[in-house]
Symmetry: C2
Subunit: 330 residues, 2 copies
């Protein structure tokens, strides 16, 4: 298996990536390929443990993703994705800017034949389990047929990655009843209902967090509002509880004793526990991790990519999309 890691992605680049690369070699006994300026990286790795592919161009934080994707063919992202494209790697992992990764992937890899729009599909922690949410922000404006494809790709991902048999697919909406939601949901519902997917109807955020579906389909704007609201409320609540606990010596003592409980909950909310988010639908396995990742979070992203490779996610996606197009007018 050959995994390529963007050495310049994380806020702590290349330290977090270099540390993870060494750890990966020790853990899995395989050399990782790092893309980034050889000048910067060369002296810092043992060539017996880590490969380096020179990518001298640096993407600026304020560069427009779409422009940078085209104008900098030798960035660490572009170079890494070209290795994928040319069959020299099985997966590409980056902790870099999501917009930049998406633009570069579209430009360097293109889409799987038949795919209308690639989508970001993280695995969310839910009550007693996890669920795939797709799309979480790649496509702010969607058409119903995109949502149908998100359902198809998300279902394959859940089947392979989460080992769910016949995954339950639902639409994120504002009510469970049929006909609730906006026009996009209403139109997508018809397509999903007519598809071969195990479509179970609409779910509200509460049902999603109760684990009532394996795959929750949404447009990228609503999906992103869902993601960011979840993060914001969790952060606010934990802050509030912490402040209230500090308010008196008795509650402070209680908070001290109850620490392990808070630690478990905080861990559940920590994005570094959840690997990375695949960009499904581009013609190659691309995983995007959090910019704030440390080495442990990079390792978690690499694990996710390895799992996807060893279970044949890419082939399953190509096959699934192909089958969905056979006999349809799309």
């Amino acid at each position: 298996m050959r995994i390529v890691l963007d050495a310049m992605g994380s806020d702590h680049h290349p330290e977090a990536e270099l540390e993870a690369a060494v750890e990966a070699y020790q853990l899995w006994g395989e050399r990782l390929t790092l893309t980034g300026p050889a000048e910067l990286l060369g002296s810092r790795v043992d060539p017996a443990q880590v490969d380096i592919v020179d990518a001298p161009e640096i993407l600026g934080m304020y560069e427009k993703p779409a422009v940078a994707a085209k104008k900098k063919p030798n960035s660490s992202m572009a170079k890494g994705m070209r290795l994928l494209k040319h069959g020299e790697a099985d997966a590409f992992v980056t902790m870099g800017n999501t917009g930049g990764a998406m633009a570069t992937a579209l430009f360097q890899l293109g889409r799987i034949k038949g795919v209308k729009r690639p989508a970001l599909s993280p695995v969310f922690p839910v009550r007693d389990g996890s669920a795939v949410v797709i799309d979480i922000g790649a496509n702010a404006d969607c058409r119903p047929e995109y949502l149908l494809q998100f359902g198809i790709m998300g279902s394959i991902y859940a089947e392979i990655f989460l080992e769910r048999k016949d995954p339950r697919v639902a639409l994120l909406s504002t009510g469970e009843e049929q006909g609730k939601g906006n026009k996009l949901v209403e139109a997508a519902e018809k397509l999903l209902r007519a598809s071969k997917l195990n479509y179970i109807g609409n779910v509200e955020p509460r049902e999603l967090y109760n684990g009532e579906a394996d795959v929750v389909v949404t447009d990228g704007f609503s999906g992103n509002i869902f993601l960011k609201t979840s993060e914001a409320v969790a952060a606010l609540l934990i802050d509030m509880i912490r402040n209230e606990i500090k308010a008196s010596p008795v509650t402070a003592a209680g908070g001290y004793l109850a620490r392990p409980a808070f630690r478990t909950v905080s861990k559940l909310l920590d994005p570094s526990e959840y690997g990375a988010v695949p960009l499904l639908g581009v013609d190659g396995l691309v995983f995007i991790g959090h910019g704030r990742s440390n080495a442990r979070a990079v390792m978690s992203a690499l694990s996710a990519a390895r799992k996807a490779v060893s279970r044949g996610l890419m082939q399953a996606l190509r096959q699934g999309i192909k089958e969905s197009l056979e006999g349809s007018d799309h």
Copy 2:
């Protein structure tokens, strides 16, 4: 001041409403008007403390709101709103079905002249304060000009109800940068920027909860996803912490000592603390509370309505909408 309360709205009707009506008389020294079947209510109130207006028709839980609004002119909602319409009341408060209340309000009261779409605008608890979010679910599909009007109405509401001077108005979006978000946000941004409102740009859910805006404008679908995600995450998190605390005797002891802290936080998350949600833009003051309301939550809704009446919210809305239309092509 004459406030009309739907006696048949809450899940605990008419008990919660009857209890609140008596309490309201004791607290404010004014008789409330209850709408509902006289047969049911008459024997249970003291006519010196509470007025009853007979409304014999009952709305079924499974009736379609739009149909019920037209077919049952003598429901407790329809009757109450007609009192508003005829100038016999200053505000109408209901704990009933939101869809039903909206449909009935549109049918019985109509819209303020010039208003394109009424909107639901609750006050959210945010870090060190509160913020108005508009629309939270009345309009699943919006046009940019609706969002401009939501901004105008929300701004007036924040000024009057929360006493904010020159309220900071923002659009809910998936990034703070101009041009982030979907096409609707992009188009609404232009209108808001060109308006006389104190428009400060886009906010993400995190900025909203940090209190960076007084009024956050959104379409009713995204707003409802925001609301329901907030509620779902808060419920899940508190459950998780509770379960983790129970997991060992030490953390349980800690949790016991820290109880007051959790109680404060739970209170902050309790909808019954936040009165009721006004339906802004219909031609009369309508406040919609939570179906699960107890008498205390009904009192809180009544307080909100009284505050809106005494501060002249309705006149301000009429005036504000009128001014916004003068000199524009709308």
